[in-house]
């Protein structure tokens, strides 16, 4: 998927540990790890806003998009 989660970068910038962030936003460390590695189908707005609050950033700081014209042809299932 061309949308990448750049949580690792933000965690490094804020010098926070993944375990602490997972504890604060109320998800498991495994889920946060899946999120960091992009192995999830999506992120809930609730999770995104909690991450933004704790990391003091905007959604755009946590997500990046690699342009791919084929995206228009992919079906949403």
């Amino acid at each position: 998927m061309p949308v990448r989660v750049t949580l690792d970068v933000m965690l490094a910038r804020r010098k926070l540990r993944a375990r602490d962030v997972a504890d604060q936003i109320g998800i498991s460390e495994t889920q946060l790890s899946l999120l960091r590695t992009g192995k999830v189908r999506g992120m809930r707005f609730g999770t995104l806003s909690k991450l933004c609050l704790i990391l003091e950033c905007a959604p755009g700081d946590l997500l990046e998009y690699d342009r791919d014209d084929a995206d228009l042809k992919t079906s949403e299932d």
């Binding site: 998800i27 999830v40 189908r41 999506g42 999770t47």
Partner: protein, 158 residues
């Protein structure tokens, strides 16, 4: 540790299942026969009686499975494997019960009636009720599968 309270829907379903089971037993056996169940001419000795219990047994199993689903829903369980298994049990019970009522019982009663001398042909008893129950069972099983897929999709969101 206190035992978890059963939800009203589950209690009602279980009472209905037990009442229907007892009613079936009394209806089939006859109150007067109950005193000599094991007598030489007791109705419980006849194979027809046991064959006639196949379909209701599956339907009662489906009812019991429904009560278990009510319990899990009341506990707040997500649409996980336990509820899916419960729904499949209900669907399976309805399908098997209908199949037994439509095909198995008439065929077996016919075979028993002629002493297994004429083994040809399958007997049908095409009731609207049984066919409807079979379709409902199929729909339930399909819905359970669909629900499981949706839940898996939902779980893949963090």
């Amino acid at each position: 540790m206190p035992k978890p309270r059963l939800p009203m829907a589950a209690v009602v379903t279980r009472i209905v299942a037990l009442a229907l089971g007892l009613a079936l037993f009394f209806e089939q056996a006859g109150a007067s026969q109950l005193l000599h169940l094991d007598g030489p001419d007791g109705i419980l000795k006849t194979p027809d009686y046991w064959v006639s219990l196949i379909a209701p047994a599956f339907f009662l199993w489906a009812l019991w499975a429904a009560s278990n689903v009510f319990v899990r829903m009341d506990r707040g369980d997500a649409f996980g494997p336990a509820i899916v298994r419960g729904l499949r049990e209900i669907g399976g019970g309805l399908i098997l019960g209908s199949f037994a009522a439509v095909v198995v019982q008439p065929s077996l009663i016919f075979l028993i009636g002629n002493g297994f001398t004429e083994m040809r042909g399958v007997r049908f008893n095409l009731d609207v009720e049984n066919l409807t129950l079979a379709i409902v069972g199929l729909v339930l099983s399909a819905l359970a599968r669909q629900g499981q897929t949706l839940q898996a999709k939902l779980d893949s969101f963090v």
